[in-house]
Amino acid sequence: MSLLGFFQWCEQSGIGDTIRRSSWLFPLIEAIHLLGLGVIGGAVLVVDLRLLGLGLRRQPTAQLARDAQPWLIGSLLLMFVTGSLLFLSEAIKCYYHEAFWFKMTSLFLAILFTFTIQRKVILAGETRFNPVWSKVVALVSILLWTGVGIGGRWIGFS
């Protein structure tokens, strides 16, 4: 099956069809998607502000990251579920929309960066790396997540 074929299959799925037929399902799912966005934002910012030397700067970064992790993963899952439902209802539009591909690329990079490089820098503690690296890592993380947010909002403009 080609990629376009897969997207067409998604568009024709029963779930996508149900959401398209309903006048309130799409808005409701999207609103829950927005709640997830807020929580991801909070979980990411608590850690990134700390890495930037702002926010809870008296606390060890590793501990903060451990505290925020369940909320980050939980809201990511919520985003993934609600986002997939939204996608099923308008898969063809997404296939031809550059914003969708921009968002998916940013999302892939953001998740990859958060759970590999950023995690490594945080767990290594303040002593092993130059503090400048913490700030660079925080800025890259904010930049990548912002890309996801911009892409998401942009899908709505068409």
């Binding site: 309130w24 609103a31 807020g38 934002g41 909070g42 910012l45 505290d67 909320w71």
Partner: protein
């Protein structure tokens, strides 16, 4: 730090105001979203002249005819940009407010003193709230009359007042004694209740805020149930009722 942040935000707002002067080229090919914005120019049959509702109604009606309002809803980019900023700021405002609520509930950062979370994170929440209020006011100014008579907008405003009341009760009540429970991994009941209330209210505010965009209960969508027309202060004409 906070001052510099506020200055940057003010610059951003000014940039948006400039963009508000860029008008849409032509009304052809407008999407449904653009068309709903024009509803502010439609004179709804309403409960005009009845007490405060009437005076607010005429005020928002005049606001809708102002250069600012027309500029905002006719502009090519301003409305979409301001709306995007309003949504993105959820991360800063809603995200960090919710993290504080989670701390009050003992769900995260249990080893961090509550007063430290408040002191170090709430200024960011306040900065986010300032952006929310400025962008939200601009969005309202773009379509004042329709927003004022929108049931979700009214719900949102009432819940905003309740959320503000909750903040006030928390800070003048149990938070005054924070020194006695600062390090508690699970704060006392009163603080947990404040956190839970805040969480529920802000979630409902986000949900109803998103629904303002939909015109299911708008005045020009008749017939509606009498309770809906009462809550939105719409007075449908005889032909609309049938």
């Amino acid at each position: 730090m906070q001052l510099r942040l506020l200055a940057t935000l003010c610059c951003l707002v000014l940039a948006f105001c400039y963009l508000a002067t860029v008008r849409a080229a032509a009304p052809t090919g407008w999407t449904a979203g653009h068309q709903t914005r024009l509803f502010s120019n439609v004179a709804f049959q309403t409960a005009a002249g009845r007490g405060i509702g009437g005076s607010l109604l005429s005020f928002f009606s005049r606001l809708g005819d102002s250069t600012w309002s027309v500029g905002l809803h006719e502009s090519r980019y301003a409305y979409d940009l301001i709306e995007s900023v309003h949504v993105w700021t959820l991360c800063l405002f809603f995200g960090l407010a919710v993290m504080f609520d989670f701390r009050l509930l003992g769900w995260t950062m249990r080893s961090v003193p509550v007063s430290e979370v408040a002191r170090r994170l709430l200024p960011w929440t306040v900065a986010g709230f300032v952006v929310m209020v400025i962008s939200g006011t601009l969005l309202f100014t773009a379509i004042p009359l329709r927003s004022y008579q929108n049931i979700f907008f009214r719900t949102k405003m009432i819940m905003l007042l309740l959320a503000g009341l909750n903040v006030w009760i928390f800070h003048s009540g149990v938070y005054r004694r924070v020194a006695t429970w600062d390090a508690a991994s699970v704060p006392p009941r009163a603080a947990r209740v404040a956190g839970a209330l805040s969480l529920v209210l802000w979630v409902c505010i986000v949900l109803s805020g998103r629904m303002i965009a939909y015109n299911w209960f708008d005045c020009d969508h008749q017939p509606q149930r009498p309770i809906i027309n009462f809550l939105t202060s719409c007075v449908p004409t005889q032909s609309e009722v049938r």
